[in-house]
């Protein structure tokens, strides 16, 4: 099976010319690539750090503001300090020939696509990414040095079905690591909630890994990844937090086939808690239960009772979070959930104890309910 390349695209600095990068983003996704793009006004060290954690193959930088040397230098320096210079750096935009030379010679830029030249068209750009190999890592390296760079790369090996890499993590059992599945419909606030949960766990000095799953385009197989990261940005430079985004790649039930392996990789790398965020799910997708020790369903108070009835996953999760209690009182839904739990024949969760319900709201600074949620999760985890 062909290795699917992961590419992070970025606009540097204050430059708002995003026509080119948007076109390339759409084109790459249409052609089956997995692409990260975070919009305008990005800082280069953020982009470089994300590239490292995500184990990407290429960074594509678009600059039309004449500041290309400055910004590329910054990325180059960051990658160098993190032994990640094998990430293929590609630049596009308005670059005079003199600077093309500097970019290639001094900063190891693989290719510069200068706007308005025969090479800067979609076909050549497509060819470039197709013909140039992505990055690889010897899986043993990750076991020796569990740097973020190695872990990111190792997980990228896993999602690309490397047998050697999966051999290391396939049958891993580590009871001391708690894996939490977070699922729910699109727009219920999963990523924001996870962002705050990370803060809580970090306050307790736990190392936290996150696997965020995004949907693959069912026609092209490409994907736009990493949108969930926006809600967790403040943890980017915390050395005890690692976030990895993966596409479903045809996996069933809101996660990818390799998500479980990725969780194991995070365990090996020494993370105490691993959170798996599913894609925005439908009504019967609870596959995350098979890889998580406990699974939480995030709801909002405005969900209709009939929706709850119809939903297959209602009956099988370990905890419920009623989020956004600021938009509507949570009580009716809470009462309804309690009745439903009472009517359950058995509890299918691993701890066999009664599922708990927590109400949260993320609008005010203190984020009501989040501390209680973190405590409850840990307590529940203790009983496993």
């Amino acid at each position: 099976m062909e290795r699917k390349k992961r590419i992070i695209l970025a606009k540097a600095g204050l430059d708002g010319h995003d026509q080119g990068i948007n076109v390339i983003k759409d084109f790459l996704i249409e052609n089956g690539y997995e692409v990260f793009y975070f919009g305008l006004y990005q800082q280069m060290r953020d982009i470089a750090e994300i590239a490292i954690q995500e184990g990407v193959d290429f960074i594509g930088l678009s600059v039309h503001s004449a500041a290309h040397l400055e910004y590329v230098k910054e990325i180059f320096g960051y990658l160098k300090n993190n032994n990640a210079l094998d990430i293929g750096l590609v630049v596009g935009g308005i670059v005079p020939e003199q600077d093309v030379f500097i970019l290639e010679k001094e900063f190891g830029v693989r290719r510069v696509f200068v706007s308005g030249t025969p090479e800067a068209n979609l076909n050549s750009i497509g060819d470039f990414f197709r013909k140039n190999s992505g990055r690889n890592i010897d899986p043993k390296l990750m076991l020796e040095n569990k740097s973020k760079n190695n872990l990111g790369l190792f997980i990228s090996e896993l999602v690309n079905n490397s047998e050697e890499a999966s051999g290391f993590v396939k049958n891993l059992l580590r009871e001391d690591v708690l894996t939490i599945g977070i699922t729910g419909h699109q727009g219920v606030g999963k990523s924001t909630l996870i962002g705050h949960l990370i803060t809580q766990f970090r306050n307790l000095n736990k190392r936290v890994g996150v696997i965020a799953v995004d949907p693959s385009d069912c026609i092209s197989g490409g994907a736009l990844l990493g949108r969930d990261r926006t809600q967790m940005w403040r943890h980017l430079f915390d050395e005890n937090v690692h976030i990895y985004s993966m596409a479903t790649r045809g996996g069933y039930g809101g996660i990818a086939d390799t998500t479980g392996l990725a969780v194991n990789a995070m365990k090996i790398a020494g993370y105490d808690i691993v959170i798996v965020e599913t894609i925005g799910i439908g009504q019967d997708q609870a596959e995350v239960r098979t890889i998580a020790d406990m699974t939480g369903l995030i709801l909002t108070p405005d969900i209709g009772e009939d929706q709850v009835y119809k939903s297959g996953i209602m009956q099988i999760v370990d905890f419920y979070v009623i989020n956004k209690t600021d938009i509507m009182p949570a009580l009716p839904l809470e009462k309804f959930l309690n009745e439903m739990i009472d009517n359950r024949v058995s509890f299918s969760g691993k701890s066999k104890s009664r599922p708990f319900i927590i109400n949260t709201s993320m609008v005010n600074k203190n984020c009501s309910g989040i501390q209680k949620l973190a405590e409850k999760i840990l307590e529940y985890g203790e009983n496993l």
Binding site: N22, Y37, Q98, T117, N121
Partner: protein, 523 residues
């Protein structure tokens, strides 16, 4: 299909019987409603278009020199390009983005820079000054007014334009600071202020240029720009102004691209549509309210980075479209702009293109020389029809702000841009020297070198200004700006006061941001 065949096919379907065509309804004489043929009876016979080359780089001193160079070579209007930090309301000492200081425009931090920028230049007519500034337009405009005041120039005499079009920033150019609603309020404040105090000034230049350069089609450029115009008129009316008081001071800005005849038709359609919109939708009575005045820039997107000399040919043809389409002012691109800001040599040729058309070709004696040609009238009708359809769609969404919120124009443009790029990749859209007869050799040309010390010098000047000014007074001014922002008052006066006391653009924008917040785009 081959591009040439397609054009031939288009030509053959233009067969409207001439008696079906109502001259007075569709065209009217030049200077007559609906102004399809032009807004003046005599047009260039009486006065040529303003030759206005967009210029700015490095420090205010560097750009002041370039201004004078252009004026010496026969330019008739100034046009200022600001650097990225200035466009985004940041100072040159900004920790994150300060490194872009002076790179693609002139760096302006305080009034001190603005004074240098216009040093030795008389701001009285006939000089008119255009400033391409949007999110922080109110600050730069205030600085200009104070500079004029210090020179003893009466505000009533000042001529010029600030772009001040935030809607197209959200849609295409993507350089915003505040969210849409407060941004629209700032614009309404400026419009109101100009009506009363700077009556010869154009407080807004509603721009299709950036929409087109972001990859839209001609029709999308036309439709989104005019719909933006409608939005501004509505906001000004809502702010309590009378349509005939401000509409005569609205101006537009279009792109002139490679499709020669279609572009001419686009300018004609724009005039006719705006006249009808102002008359029928807003019941404007003053004929100046009905007349669409516009600046044109030739297309940067059409320029290529190989065989740069070809770009002058492209620019010449686009300039001709704009002039045959009746533009009021024109910027012609320099051939090296695909690689850097223009060098003196390149910008001189660009200006000469306009001068040769104006003085050697003998085409300025007739207004709308193509009016009545089957092909042109057909294209004009077609563009109007499709553009009106777009406007209806956006009306249906509840206006442009709502449409932007839903990402509608952004999506439409992205779709067109992707399509365009695919056509270039397959060769369906021909570009000489790129995908047809591709250039064999890489060209290394001398590029404009920005002083590598620019940031250091700029920060030094900024620090000196901060040391000399009355910092207590500045603090008071900034607090007052925030107070006015909270109230419903006009921000213009408070900002003029702050500028006079040498508050920086970054400080003023921060004072506003504290109240208004910052805009973030959903991807």
């Amino acid at each position: 299909m081959d591009e040439r065949n397609k054009n031939n096919k288009e030509k053959s379907f233009c067969k409207k019987p001439i008696d079906e065509f109502d001259y007075s309804l569709k065209l009217g004489d030049p200077g007559q409603y609906p102004y399809t043929r032009g807004i003046h009876l005599e047009m260039y016979k009486k006065q040529l278009w303003t030759m206005r080359q967009f210029a700015g780089f490095g420090s205010a001193d560097d750009t002041n020199k370039r201004f004078k160079y252009l004026l010496e070579h026969g330019e008739t209007g100034l046009s200022t390009a600001f650097d990225m930090p200035t466009l985004l309301g940041r100072d040159s000492d900004d920790l994150v983005y300060g490194k872009e200081t002076g790179l693609c425009g002139v760096a302006i931090d305080t009034l001190a820079d603005m004074e240098i920028l216009f040093d030795g230049i008389d701001l009285n007519p006939p000089i008119s000054t255009s400033m391409t500034i949007n999110a922080p337009a109110i600050v730069l405009f205030a600085m200009y007014l104070v500079v004029a005041e210090k020179k003893g120039t009466d505000w009533k005499n000042l001529r010029g334009t600030i772009q001040n079009d935030i809607l197209k920033e959200y849609i295409a150019q993507k350089e915003w600071i505040f969210p849409p609603e407060p941004s629209m309020r700032i614009i309404a404040n400026i419009v109101e202020f100009c009506c009363k105090n700077v009556s010869q000034w154009y407080p807004i230049s509603i721009s299709g240029y950036h929409i087109r350069e972001a990859g839209s089609t001609a029709v999308q450029e036309l439709a989104f720009t005019l719909r933006d115009g409608i939005e501004y008129v509505e906001w000004a009316i809502r702010a309590g102004l009378k349509v005939d008081d401000f509409a005569p001071r609205f101006s537009f800005f279009f792109d002139s691209c490679e499709n020669f005849f279609r572009e001419i038709a686009k300018f004609r359609a724009a005039r006719r549509m705006w006249a009808r919109i102002m008359k029928e939708r807003f019941h404007a009575k003053n004929e100046k309210s009905l007349q669409l005045r516009f600046h044109t820039q030739t297309s940067g997107l059409s320029l290529q980075a190989t065989e740069l000399e070809n770009n002058d040919v492209r620019t010449t043809s686009q300039a001709l479209s704009a002039i045959l389409g009746g533009t009021q002012s024109l910027h012609t691109n320099s051939h090296d702009e695909t690689l850097c800001l223009p060098t003196e040599e390149a910008v001189k040729i660009a200006l000469r293109i306009q001068q040769i058309i104006a003085y050697e070709m003998d085409i300025t004696g007739v207004v709308d020389p193509l009016g009545g040609a089957y092909w042109i009238e057909n294209l004009t009708d077609e563009l109007e029809k499709i553009a009106m359809h777009y406007i209806d769609i956006i009306d249906g969404m509840g206006g442009m702000l709502k449409a932007i919120e839903q990402g509608y124009p952004q999506r439409e443009i992205r779709r067109s841009a992707l399509e365009r790029c695919k056509k270039i990749a397959t060769g369906e859209k021909i570009i000489i020297g790129v995908n047809k007869f591709p250039a064999k050799e890489k060209q290394i040309i001398p590029v404009l070198k920005i002083d590598p010390e620019i940031r250091m010098k700029q920060v030094k000047r900024l620090n000196e200004v901060k040391q000399k000014r009355d910092n207590f007074k500045v603090k008071q001014c900034l607090e007052y700006i925030s107070c006015v922002a909270v109230s419903k008052g006009n921000l213009m006066f408070s900002i003029i006061e702050a500028v006079k006391n040498y508050a920086t653009i970054g400080e003023i924008c921060l004072a506003l941001e504290k109240v208004f917040g910052r805009y973030e785009e959903k991807i």
